[in-house]
Structure formats: structure tokens, C-alpha cells
């Protein structure tokens, strides 16, 4: 009998491609929703990204009843409570989150309050608390990296206690994720690069960490192929809608992969670095990825070697001896980072960020060791190991 076991779950309807936004009214009507509320942030609104969403709905006679555009980068319990108040006051019946990770997480948390009742989101924190489906919830991502549109997790800061509250439930998953190339067309180069490398890391860790499974593997490899095939083209031609769509789809696919197979040490170090040095998540992912792959190398040689096919194509893959493919994969990732550095100075080392002190490395290592994702890293990580990876990533 096989000793293998895995679980895979993704009930999100993915609506992707040209004129995808125009499907929103039909999809909402299918869920009997008539009074949607948009949850977003000021940056998204200022960039004019709400206009096509609103136009798509109004053209079909669907009025957006309320727009909350003040979601901060780190959303809090009071923001969630305020938005839930507006939702109830305006008698809304659906939520459309438009934005990056913060707006999407806020939308998920607001959906808990307006569906379950009450004003205190903290009491729903944890895993498996929710027992019922929530209100209709759509997500329109405006970055191509987080994959939040297909993850069953939200993180909201409790500003009173100064802690981050995690919420985990399959009921947090949106009914639909709308991937429209118009939403990422104006993304600045450094954010395009960092978020794409975030997706690349999701896919790479999903494929090499302990909870990998055949279904998440399929999504992960497809995502890597799309990113390696499109990222540099998009960096050179930011208005390349085709390439933008490829990256957006890759982000969603990587999100599906890692939400079903988890991530490892790159994320543990990235979460700790983000918390201590306030570096953007995608940048941390790009920075640590090759160093962690080198650290894990002997535990992941086989799957890592397979990724060469999706990163460099069949010619390079077949020309590389099987025993050298894992190292060649790491070299390919390094090469991609060098290209991104050339185009937008996306840092490749902690020193290049200019925001990390060498004296902070020990603190980062200690915090990383307590991060939940370290559990799924294929190799056991000691404090000394984490310090060694950080020293290599320093300069």
C-alpha cells in the first residue's frame, strides 16, 4: 500500500483573460447578489484601476453600492470593523476586493464579520472556527504575486494587542478570482519584478517542500514556465498585455500550488525579515530563494533538477547531465535575478537593499525559526543553519 497521502482543494472559479472584468455582473447575479461593495486602497483608486471594474458593472445595470478605498498596507481589526459597518449601513450583499494582499485579506475578514455577525473580528481568529459559507466574495488582484485570491488565509493586525491575527478557513476562499490583464498593466517595474519573484518562490517551494503532491506540482511547474517565459519580456515591454496576463495567471497558479503544499525556509526568513526590517515580501522572496535552495540542495536534488525544464526549456534541460540539473536550476534563478537587477535594481543580497544591518541577522534567524512554514522545509533548520544562510545572503 502506498505511504503517500495528500489533500488538494481549490473551489475558486478563475475568470481570466481579455474582458474578464465584464463577467463580474453575470457572476454576481448567479449568486443572487445585487448590491456589491468594493474594498480597495487609495493607490489602486489613484491608478484608475477601479474605473474598468465600475464601468463593467454599470454597463450591465449593476450598481456598485459602496466603495471603501482606505485599506492600509497592514490592515487592522478597526479597519475591518469600519468596513463591515459601512457594508451593513448600505445594505450590501457582496464584496469585491480590488488590490494586492492587504485589500484581499481585508475583504476576507470583512466577509467573516458581515456573514457571521458581530464587530470583533478577533474572535474568529484561528483555524476551523468558521462553520458556514460566507457572503458572495470576488477578488480582482492588481499585482501578480501574492496568490491571495486562491488562499484560504487572511492576516489582520490587532492594533490593541500589537499582534497579527491569522484566519484560516476554506470559507475564506472567494467565489471567483477575476484575472484581467488591464489590472496589472501599469504596475511599476520593481513591483512587477518583486511580485513575479514572489510567485516564482511560491511555485518553487511548493514543488520542493514536504507537502508537495501531484496536483500542486502541476500548477507549480506551469507557473514557473509562465514566469520564466514572460517576466523579462514584460520588464522590457511593460504594456505587453499578453505577458502581463501570463504573469497574473502564473501568480494564481502558484497560489493554488502553495496553498495546497505549503512553503518552506524562504518564507520563514522572508516573514522574519519583513517584520524586522520592513522589506517588501516579494523582494525578500527573490533575495533568499537561491541561498535557501543551496542550503536544501541535497534534500531536494531530484525535484529541483526537474525545474530546469520549466525555467530554461527542453534544449538546456536535455543538454544538462541529470546530476547537474539541480545546480543548473539554481544558476538559472540567479541569472534571472541578475537580469532583474540590471533592469530595475531588484536587490540580490541583504546588503544591496540598504535597509538591513548586519547586526540584525541574528534576530532574523531567531524569528525565522519560529515561523510556521519552517515546519514544511525539507531539511531540519537549526539556528546556526539559519544564520549561515543569512550570512551567505548578506553580500
Amino acid at each position: 500500500m502506498s505511504q503517500k497521502y495528500y489533500e488538494f482543494f481549490c473551489p475558486v472559479k478563475v475568470i481570466a483573460g481579455k474582458a474578464a472584468l465584464e463577467h463580474i455582473p453575470y457572476e454576481l447575479t448567479g449568486l443572487a447578489a445585487k448590491r456589491p461593495m468594493i474594498v480597495t486602497d487609495k493607490g489602486v483608486r489613484a491608478a484608475g484601476l477601479l474605473d474598468p471594474v465600475i464601468a463593467a458593472c454599470e454597463e450591465s445595470g449593476l450598481e456598485i453600492v459602496s466603495i471603501y478605498d482606505d485599506v492600509p498596507p497592514d490592515s487592522s481589526t478597526s479597519v475591518v470593523r469600519d468596513i463591515a459597518g459601512v457594508y451593513r449601513q448600505e445594505k450590501c450583499d457582496a464584496i469585491i476586493a480590488v488590490g494586492g494582499g492587504s485589500a484581499i485579506d481585508t475583504g476576507k475578514a470583512v466577509n467573516i464579520l458581515v456573514s457571521e455577525g458581530g464587530d470583533d473580528i478577533a474572535k474568529y481568529s484561528g483555524a476551523g472556527i468558521l462553520k458556514h459559507p460566507l457572503k458572495p466574495f470576488f477578488v480582482v488582484p492588481t499585482t501578480a504575486g501574492t496568490g491571495s485570491e486562491v488562499t484560504a488565509v487572511a492576516v489582520i493586525t490587532d492594533e490593541k494587542k500589537g499582534v497579527k491575527l491569522p484566519f484560516t478557513s476554506s470559507f475564506l476562499l472567494p467565489n471567483a478570482a477575476i484575472i484581467d490583464p488591464r489590472m496589472t498593466l501599469t504596475l511599476p517595474p520593481h513591483i512587477t519584478a518583486a511580485t513575479a519573484m514572489d510567485a516564482m518562490t511560491h511555485a518553487t517551494e511548493a514543488f520542493t517542500c514536504m507537502a508537495k503532491n501531484p496536483l500542486s506540482d502541476a500548477y507549480a511547474t506551469a507557473a514557473i514556465k509562465k514566469i520564466s517565459g514572460s517576466l523579462l519580456n514584460v520588464m522590457d515591454n511593460p504594456k505587453d498585455a499578453e505577458g502581463r496576463l501570463e504573469l497574473a495567471q502564473a501568480s494564481t497558479m502558484a497560489g493554488i500550488a502553495f496553498s495546497n503544499s505549503m512553503v518552506g525556509l524562504v518564507h520563514s526568513l522572508g516573514h522574519a525579515t519583513g517584520a524586522i526590517c520592513h522589506l517588501p515580501h516579494g523582494l525578500c522572496m527573490s533575495l533568499y530563494l537561491p541561498y535557501v535552495l543551496e542550503y536544501n540542495l541535497e534534500s531536494i536534488r531530484e525535484p529541483l533538477g526537474e525545474l530546469l525544464l520549466y525555467l530554461e526549456g527542453p534544449e538546456v534541460y536535455s543538454a544538462t547531465p541529470a546530476a547537474r540539473r539541480a545546480e543548473a536550476t539554481i544558476s538559472a534563478i540567479r541569472k534571472l535575478r541578475d537580469q532583474l537587477y540590471k533592469r530595475c535594481q531588484l536587490p540580490r543580497t541583504l546588503k544591496e537593499t540598504g535597509k538591513v544591518q548586519e547586526s540584525q541577522l541574528d534576530h532574523i534567524a531567531e524569528m525565522a525559526l519560529d515561523d510556521g512554514s519552517i515546519m514544511f522545509n525539507p531539511k531540519e533548520v537549526t539556528l546556526e543553519d539559519a544564520r549561515a544562510v543569512l550570512r551567505r545572503a548578506w553580500a
Binding site: 505511504q3 476551523g128 514536504m210 525559526l369 519560529d370 510556521g372 515546519m375 514544511f376 531540519e380
Partner: protein, 181 residues
């Protein structure tokens, strides 16, 4: 037919095994915190009074230990004096048996969704390291290698044997003390 007849006995034996293993592990957690500095250092980061539970859903066997401060654990048996702060819950007795009979590593069990964490995940990660450390002491190396992700290269036989002897002695003493009327 025979299989059907003996199945209830197999289930009962499995439950009994898990129950006994939880009793041993609970006492061993207390013991290892009294003999090993690495475990004490791990535990010191936990809040004093933190109640940790490992249990089988829905109402199966359980072990409860408390961090009583300065890196020391106290085993409470199967009942907690107040609501627990951190709970690692096996979804089924069969999953607990896989882990406690060393057919599946704790980290694999997490990766395979065999168990849930209710509480602060960072404390759960820390407690998993403590459990791994305990297993490397009290199990023969060949079995411990099946139980933990990576057997520590710096744990040499003399240290392992001395620590294991001290832990087993404390566990046995605790058993005698707690069953005495």
C-alpha cells in the same frame, strides 16, 4: 470474516497504545525539561503558565503539559486545570497511531494534514522541536531517524544514553508516584 471479528480488538489495541504513548510522552516531556538545557532554552520562550495539549479528535486520548516557567514543564495528565492555550489535534486515532508508532514523522504528519494546530503557530513549531529532541533521546537511533526530520549529527552516544537513562528514570518515578493511591 476473521478480519471482521478481530477488527474491534485491533481498534481497541490501537487506542490503548496511543493512550499509553501519550502518558509516557507527557511524563517524558516533564522529564526532558528537567535534564536537557536545549529543551529548557526552547521552552523559556513560551509564556509561563502556557498549557499545551496533544489530543486525538473528537474526544480521544490526550496529554496536557504546562510550562511552569524557566523552561520547565509539568505534566497534568489528561485534564487541564483551565482552557488550554495551544492544542495539536490529530484528526483520527489512526493518524496518531502512525506518528506514535514512528511510521510517520511529526513533520510529515503536519505536511499530510493529519493534524491541526489551534493556538499560536510559533509555539507549536517550538513544541515540535521539543518533541523531536525528546524522541532523539529516548528512542534508539534507528527508530528516532524515522520519527524526526533529521537526526542531530552532534548528539553522541554517551550523551544520548545518559540523558535517556535520566528521562526514563524520571518517567518511571512519576508513573509510580501518580498511580500510588
Amino acid at each position: 470474516m476473521l478480519l471482521k471479528r478481530i477488527q474491534p480488538m485491533v481498534f481497541q489495541a490501537r487506542r490503548l497504545y496511543v493512550d499509553i504513548m501519550f502518558q509516557v510522552m507527557g511524563r517524558a516531556l516533564q522529564a526532558v525539561s528537567e535534564v536537557d538545557e536545549t529543551v529548557q532554552n526552547e521552552a523559556r520562550a513560551l509564556p509561563k503558565g502556557l498549557l499545551f495539549e496533544m489530543m486525538v479528535m473528537p474526544e480521544g486520548p490526550r496529554l496536557i503539559v504546562e510550562h511552569i516557567g524557566d523552561g520547565y514543564f509539568h505534566y497534568h495528565g489528561q485534564s487541564a486545570p483551565r482552557p488550554v492555550d495551544l492544542s495539536i489535534q490529530f484528526k483520527h486515532i489512526a493518524h496518531a497511531f502512525l506518528v506514535l508508532s514512528f511510521q510517520e514523522k511529526t513533520s510529515e504528519a503536519f505536511a499530510n494534514d493529519r493534524m491541526l494546530v489551534d493556538g499560536d503557530v510559533s509555539y507549536a513549531v517550538r513544541m515540535t522541536r521539543v518533541l523531536n529532541r525528546l524522541e532523539t533521546f529516548i528512542l534508539p537511533k534507528l527508530i528516532a531517524q524515522r520519527a524526526v526530520k533529521e537526526y542531530p549529527a552532534n548528539l553522541h552516544l554517551p550523551e544520548k544514553l545518559i540523558s535517556a537513562a535520566r528521562i526514563y528514570l524520571k518517567v518511571a518515578t512519576n508513573f509510580v508516584e501518580t498511580v500510588r493511591p
